[in-house]
């Protein structure tokens, strides 16, 4: 579908002799770079080849080969396929790899994540602290040789849980079992998290300034979250305030961390499908698609024609309901007392009715399968969808537009607040509506098409000011475009089978790697998976838009008011399920 870019033919190995070699492992693509030349190579790739947009950075632990690999997926914001390159170091502490934050600032959080979970020390990173685990946690849990307290086996199904066909819960079997280790003198009941905070508070800017006329005022450090009404869950931001103005800010996350990726590596390929629902629980359909796409890519299987249409319909419906909720909740963050939010919920319930009818569940849909979807849409649901798409939703989106867009308070609260230029948005790896609101018309559905999006006639919504008001408007624009896609899809959906594969519990995935990316409502949702040919993935990495979009939070918030911080966070559109994973 996508035409290969001319740079793919460029021989990078000749440009960097001895430092860059093609990745020749079966099923792998891209280039392998030595850590010493990494920065030079990255600079070259960004400036000379134009891959200005780093979307994914993750570590892979190849325990048998005794190497720790870091994978980079970079793309061009002008569109086209991406470039994958890797660098690796022997699995011996300290594992040191140069940080690319100076080249792509968007690597910031992703490198911290790799440090946190894999113990890859990125030299030159400005603020290399743990991000998902707490400071003071011992070990790096994503490593293949790391074992958790209730460790059973490396992969599911755990045989010991069904000794004679009856299951026993692991936690029942060993409460504080053999592999629970505490430091001497440590009592988990009396532990208070004071020390781990030190590194965090130190990373904030100094909290006392002196004005020119010598009058001193104190800055105050305020914790917004984790138990705060407006952080959309257990997200926490430590804010330094000068009166009402934000002087410095650090996001803290991981309160909902359950090591999704580790569990994902234990699950079998198919078991991960319902598990992706739990990432962004507003858009389980899109999550399913991202994962299915990555696995299908690796398996090299086609998707049934009717299923492709169903996928588009479901993904666009979930985009609409996500954006509706976002607008409603953004208004809540601005202090409107729930009215827009509840108006949005009214429409969302109708969309969830459709989801329930087709998948059996309103939120945790678990609807996609490799090669298709799990159930067909019946005529009744099709009628519901037609009603929604041709009549109700366009009307209601217009209504939102009428009610909110020109409201004086909304305009004055949003316009000109926290602008992000196109260059900054690309540098910080912003994705989805956040990127497009800054004037970068980058939509994966157009730039790197997947599914059957290339068959539909729609425009990439884009706004050019990059301020809060545009971030609000872009959601309305996208809903209009989604309606357009939906109308075409509903008209064009063919009859036929809904899956190209036979239903089965096990999936044979050939060895190799693949990166599947979809344009989720919140931004780019990517799944980087590595298979060794076994029934379980060797590596299962989720690049979530919530997580990466927050990299620019500090940049956007500093200098604004504390009330704006709440709105900015609301417009980034985070969901803690996928932020903390």
């Amino acid at each position: 579908m996508a035409t290969p870019a001319p740079t793919d033919t460029l021989d990078l190995a000749a440009r960097f002799p001895g430092a860059v070699t093609p990745d020749t492992r079966p099923g792998y693509t891209g280039w392998v770079v030595t850590p010493e030349k990494l920065l030079e190579f990255a600079q070259f790739v960004r400036d000379e080849l134009g891959y200005d947009y780093l979307v994914n950075l993750c570590a892979v632990d190849y325990l048998p080969e005794d190497r720790m690999e870091v994978v980079y997926n970079v793309f061009k914001t002008t569109g086209g396929p991406g470039l994958t390159f890797k660098t690796w170091a022997p699995r011996k502490d300290p594992i040191e790899i140069p940080s690319v934050v100076s080249i792509w600032p968007g690597a910031d959080f992703q490198e911290r994540e790799a440090w946190d979970l894999y113990g890859v020390r990125f030299t030159g990173h400005p603020d290399l602290r743990r991000i998902l685990m707490w400071e003071g946690f011992e070990g790096h849990p994503m490593r293949k040789d790391w074992q958790e307290p209730f460790y059973d086996e490396d992969v599911k199904p755990f045989k010991r849980r069904w000794p004679d066909g009856k299951h026993v819960y692991a936690e029942k079997r060993s409460v504080y079992g053999d592999n629970v280790y505490f430091k001497p003198g440590f009592d988990p009941e009396k532990w208070t998290p004071t020390d781990p905070e030190e590194a965090l508070y130190k990373s904030l800017k100094k909290y006392k300034t002196e004005t020119s006329d010598g009058i001193e005022t104190d800055h105050i450090i305020v914790n917004m979250g984790p138990q705060h009404p407006s952080t959309h869950g257990v997200f926490r931001a430590v804010v330094v305030l000068d009166g009402e103005t934000v002087v410095s800010l650090k996001p803290v996350m991981g309160y909902l961390h359950r090591n999704h990726e580790k569990i994902g590596e234990r699950n079998t390929w198919l078991q991960n499908m319902p598990y992706t629902d739990r990432l962004d629980y507003f858009n389980s359909m899109t999550n399913n698609w991202g994962y299915a796409l990555a696995v299908e890519k690796l398996m090299g299987i086609p998707v049934a024609e009717r299923a492709e249409y169903i996928r588009v319909i479901m993904a666009e419906l979930s985009r609409i309901q996500n954006h509706l909720i976002l607008i409603g909740m953004l208004l809540n963050d601005l202090g409107a007392y729930f009215t827009p939010a509840l108006y949005a919920f009214e429409e969302r319930e109708l969309i969830l009715d459709v989801f329930e009818a087709v998948s059996g569940s309103r939120m945790m849909c678990n609807y996609f399968r490799f090669g298709g979807v799990v159930r067909d849409i019946d005529e009744d649901s099709m009628k519901k969808i037609r009603d929604l798409v041709f009549d109700r939703l366009p009307r209601k989106i217009e209504e939102f537009d009428h009610l909110l867009t020109e409201n004086e308070i909304i305009v004055s609260r949003l316009k000109g607040v926290a602008p992000l230029s196109a260059e900054e948005a690309i540098a910080y790896s912003m994705a989805g509506p956040m990127l497009r609101a800054s004037g970068v018309p980058y939509d994966i559905r157009r730039a790197d098409p997947y599914g059957i999006y290339d068959r539909f006639d729609f425009d990439v919504a884009v706004r050019y000011n990059g301020d809060m008001y545009d971030r609000y408007l872009i959601r309305l624009d996208e809903m209009h475009q989604s309606i357009r896609i939906l109308q075409q899809a509903v008209k064009g959906i063919p009859e036929g089978p809904i899956s190209s594969q036979k239903p089965s519990y096990t999936t044979k995935v050939p060895p190799g790697e693949s990166y599947g990316r979809v344009e989720g409502p919140k931004g780019e949702l990517g799944f980087y998976i590595v298979s060794t040919g076994k029934p379980n993935p060797w590596r299962y990495h989720v690049r979530t838009p919530s997580f990466v979009n927050l990299t620019a939070l500090e940049k956007m918030c500093v200098g604004t008011k504390i009330a704006d911080f709440v709105a900015i966070l609301g417009a980034v559109d985070i969901v803690l399920g996928e932020l903390d994973r």
Partner: protein, 371 residues
Amino acid sequence: MDWTLFLEWLIKSLIVVLMLLVGFAYLTLFERRVLAFMQVRIGPNRAGWQGVLQPVADAIKLIFKEELTPGQVFQPLFTLAPIITVIPAVVVAAVIPWGPDVELFGRTIKLAVADLNLGTLYVAAVASIAVYGIVLAGWSSNNKYAMLGGLRSSAQVISYELSLALCFVLVTLMAGSMHAGEIVEAQRGLWFIVLQPVGGIVFLIATLAEVNRAPFDMPEAEQELTAGYHSEYSGMKFALFFMAEYIKMIAISAIAATFYFGGYREPWFLAGTWLSVDVNWWLGPIYMLIKVTALLFFMVWIRATLPRMRYDRLMAFGWKVLLPLMLVLVFVTAVGILAEAWWLIPVLSLAAGAVAVFLVNQALTKKWQRR
């Protein structure tokens, strides 16, 4: 002074206090039901018929809740602050006349707790005391959110105090008296909201800011400051703050009704009929109740509709827009009265309002273009 006089005070105070308390209880229910109606949901309807027992259930629940007094607070003020907040909220209603004078038991009874001839001044004074409780609560809590909430509140209330006080000046000018009863009588033919429309609107805006209601609910901006100045309060102490806020709403609605909407008097088109207060004195409280309810509905409606203003904008609006506008309105009204051309007042008032809207619009447009 005889004991009957004292009895009269006591009974009148008790009636007003109880009325406000019951009004508070049912205002919470009213607000929840109206909000629910506006938000496509049902609202509390389980406790009693249509939820009429909900306030009772809430009160009982709050009495039996654990009352936390965090370790770091300044105890005396922490306990005193809710009480200090409630008193002015209730007492400000003392001068509001709920009806014309009544002959009962052979004596003339005024349907106001205190018949002060300094009505407007009294209201202005007591309304500004109300902020003390909030500031003290914020300060004594020794909590950052509470502190910020208290600070915001004090700055906001004193800023809008100016516009509010100028609204009282306007009313005094138009009525030629500070006495609440006389102000009502002066509106016999024409409500002041008609005579001075922009003044009335500014008054309504300033009252919203004064009672910390949306879109000016900065001190307890949930999205930023969790619960603002009452973050650390729980149980009945919290209930007192809650009570003070709602009683303030009722009181300030009653004041607005008295000063700008003809108070207990019937609408002008009913003058001379049997629906006039002159004929049946007991219609006075009923008219008052209707007007207060309408104003309260208006406040709830605003809360359901508008997002919150940002703090700096709020302050700028108070100082740069409302204050100059009100100063202009005072002189405009004075000119109208001195020239004995009453039609001049609404015309000039609307003109001043239009100019203000135009200038604000210009300034904002320029600001957005600059960015």
